[in-house]
């Protein structure tokens, strides 16, 4: 046990005194903020620019049409249909069209464009349709009120059968934030563990350390050390994030904690960490360097990304078959179960079954990883092939 803590302690101090780690610790919230903020910012910056259409108006409906258009699309009247094309070209305007009697009777109109902005064109199209309806309506007996009544869309209200099924925004947001945060930590810790094993091999330190502690202790010490490191990161980020979140949104810590299913997050967060940390530390022991990872090794590295594939389908249908599968399949269940627990009420059998399967899988992976680690850490100069790794697993315990 002593050796275990010493290894864990070494991993922690080594990282805490490492510039890269500190930079990562500080930069991650900034990056996350950027990822969340930049799309919003870009969206704001991407305000449609002003476009101008020239119109030959034989109907006197220019003002009505302008009223139907958003502010950024301006209409300018032009008398001479012969020179209109040149004017559009010279002023670099968006296009032109002619409003005449045949538009009212046939509904056909040519919009000649100079600027092929799909968005502007479809807005113009929509407004022309509305104008056509208005004009035709004015010629018929139906009143505007009647038309509005006919065209009104159905107003659907979504009511859950049981009150507890009703999604609460707070639940959803907090669950999603936690899912992303915990999973991000599992991923970074996993990668760091892989690097740590790999580096110990590359620095040729494994053998010296293994003359002082058993390989199982070395592996467990690493896993424990990076778990505590991850926890520190999580606490640090929450300590920074909470005041910021409270500043922007009306937010109470107690309410947020009450909103999440704490046992589920704890269990699946921990289980997911165990599973992936063992997987990655074992993987690191089979590698000489990251660049020359074999196909099977790359596949293992990609495994956590599976969860992200399921995010969309699970959010859109948290009780669907895909969601149920992904929340039970042990390589995706940690993230997906946390997410589902915030989106819907997960049946107890699913939670328990998934938890049991996760524990079992983590246990098997830890066993395999320690066998791989034992041999792999002492192998130098090349990445182990899949066949070799299978052979190691079959070696007798020493």
């Amino acid at each position: 046990m002593k050796g275990l803590w010493k290894i864990a302690n070494w991993e922690i101090t080594r990282n805490l005194t490492n510039k890269q780690f500190i930079i990562g610790l500080l930069l991650t919230p900034v990056l996350m903020g950027l990822f969340a903020g930049v799309p919003i910012l870009l969206d704001r910056l991407n305000q449609p620019s002003l476009s101008t259409y020239y119109v030959v108006d034989h109907l006197g409906e220019l003002a009505s049409l302008q009223a139907l258009l958003p502010e950024n699309i301006a209409l300018k009247e032009h008398q001479d249909s012969g020179s209109i094309a040149d004017v559009v070209r010279d002023t670099n305007s968006s296009g032109y069209f002619t409003l005449d009697q045949s538009f009212i009777t046939t509904g056909q109109i040519d919009v000649v464009y100079n600027d092929r902005s799909m968005e502007t064109l479809s807005t113009v199209k929509g407004s022309l349709t509305a104008l056509l309806q208005q004009i035709r309506l004015a010629h018929s007996d139906i009143s505007l009120e009647q038309l509005a009544f006919v065209n009104a869309p159905a107003q659907v209200r979504e009511v859950a059968l049981d009150e507890e099924l009703e999604p609460q925004t707070m639940h959803m947001i907090v669950a999603m934030v936690f899912t992303v945060l915990v999973f991000f930590l599992i991923l970074t810790s996993g990668t760091m563990l892989m690097q740590s094993a790999l580096q110990e091999k590359r620095d040729r330190m494994a053998e010296v350390v293994l003359s002082s502690v058993r390989s199982v202790q070395l592996m467990q010490g690493k896993i424990l050390g990076h778990f505590l490191l991850g926890l520190m990161q999580l606490i640090f980020w929450i300590a920074i994030g909470l005041p910021i979140a409270r500043y922007f949104w009306d937010f109470s810590i107690m309410e947020a904690l009450a909103a999440v299913d704490v046992p589920v997050i704890l269990f699946f967060g921990l289980g997911g960490y165990l599973l992936y940390s063992a997987l990655f530390v074992g993987l690191g022991a089979t590698m000489e360097d990251l660049q020359s990872a074999s196909n099977s090794q790359s596949l293992v590295i990609m495994l956590p990304a599976l969860s992200f594939l399921f995010l969309g389908p699970v959010i859109s249908n948290p009780d669907g078959t895909i969601a149920v599968f992904a929340s039970i399949f042990p390589f995706t269940s940690p993230a997906i179960m946390m997410l589902r627990s915030g989106l819907t009420v997960v049946p107890l059998w699913q939670t328990l079954g998934s938890a049991a399967l996760l524990l079992l899988t983590a246990w098997v992976i830890i066993l395999l990883a320690s066998k791989i680690f034992r041999i792999g850490m002492l192998m130098y100069g090349k990445n182990a092939s899949f066949k070799e790794v299978v052979k190691w697993i079959h070696y007798k315990e020493s």
Binding site: K2, G3, K6, I7, W10, T13, R14, N18, Q199, E200, R202, D203, R204, M205, E207, V208, V209, L210, S211, S212, V213, S215, L378, Y380, K391, K396, S398
Partner: protein, 317 residues
């Protein structure tokens, strides 16, 4: 006997026995040289002694102060592996403290000893520098310090001299000898035969996982190294061969021949048996060096092994 005892260890990887029925002893206070060509199984033997891997068969015992334990306790081991390095981004002192901490040395004591050793190797200015700032030789000295800082009773040094300049080699040799004299059991593996010859008390030679030669260095030379006589003479070699004491003969120059004596023939007997009136202008008697024995084993492995076996069975005078 205090020290290390290895009894019939065997390790099989897949279908090949990397180490096959190997036994030897390393008495306390002495330096045992473990020799063998690349891939002979030295590292595997060392790892089994360290407890890093376990033998499929056989036992390893370590006795200290007449207390015998199965396997060598981790805290008594000092290990300098052949494949070595240091955490590049860490500071010299923190690595030394971490590694001696794993061996349960109290921090204050470890720090004191570390400074002492660093001073000995003129590295005290680098104690708080990162390993990346060290030269290769410096790093090797730090690794050496790391392996002995906890005052181990059992020290394994795998190629400790590779990459060292002659001055540093001498310092290492002195320190290794001093460690043995202070009561440690030292196991030394090296390809530098001259150093092994100068430093080791006992030799264990292994080839293809099997032990070939072992024992006291002098007695090995006595047993396996037939005398060689280089003779510069105008007399024909047939005249010398008539003594029936010569195993083989090799012409070195026009009138210079090297006679390898048969086993058990003493040089003085040979010289006395030489025909009287032989014109001898130069005569040297030598024993094959450890280097020769090693090369013989590494190259002509099988045949040499065979003849050695005969000798061990007592088929010599």
């Amino acid at each position: 006997m205090d020290g290390l005892q290895v009894q019939g260890i065997r390790k099989v990887y897949g279908s090949t026995a990397v180490v096959d029925n190997v036994s030897f002893e390393a008495p306390q206070g002495r330096i045992l040289g473990v020799l063998g060509p690349n891939g002979a199984g030295k590292t595997t033997i060392i790892r089994m002694i360290m407890g890093i891997t376990a033998p499929d068969q056989g036992d390893i015992y370590f006795t200290d102060n007449s207390v015998k334990t199965k396997g060598v306790p981790f805290s008594t081991i000092g290990y300098l592996p052949e494949e070595r390095g240091l955490y590049k981004e860490a500071k010299v002192m923190s690595i030394l403290l971490f590694l001696s901490g794993l061996k349960d040395v109290p921090k204050a004591q470890a720090k004191e000893r570390a400074m002492l050793w660093l001073r000995k190797f003129e590295l005290e200015d680098y104690a708080y520098k990162k390993v990346e700032q060290l030269s290769k030789g410096m790093a090797q000295k730090v690794q050496f310090i790391a392996s002995i800082l906890h005052e181990p009773k059992f020290i394994v040094l795998d190629e400790p001299f590779s990459g060292l300049d002659p001055v540093s080699q001498d310092i290492f040799k002195e320190e290794i000898r001093a460690l043995a004299n202070s009561g440690a059991t030292v196991l030394l593996s090296s390809h530098q035969m001259n150093i092994v010859e100068a430093l080791c008390d006992e030799i264990f030679l292994i080839h293809k996982g099997k032990e070939v030669v072992k024992g006291n260095l002098e007695s090995i030379k006595e047993r396996y190294g037939s005398f060689r006589v280089d003779l510069l003479s105008s007399a024909p070699k047939e005249a010398v061969l008539e003594t029936h004491m010569v195993e083989s003969v090799e012409q070195l120059a026009e009138e210079r021949y090297r006679y390898t004596l048969k086993d058990g023939i003493k040089p003085l007997d040979f010289v006395q048996a030489l025909p009287s009136g032989l014109d001898v202008r130069d005569l040297t008697i030598t024993r094959p060096s450890l280097h020769d024995i090693f090369v013989n084993v590494a190259q002509g492995g099988a045949s040499y092994e065979g003849s050695l076996e005969d000798r061990q069975l007592g088929n010599y005078a």
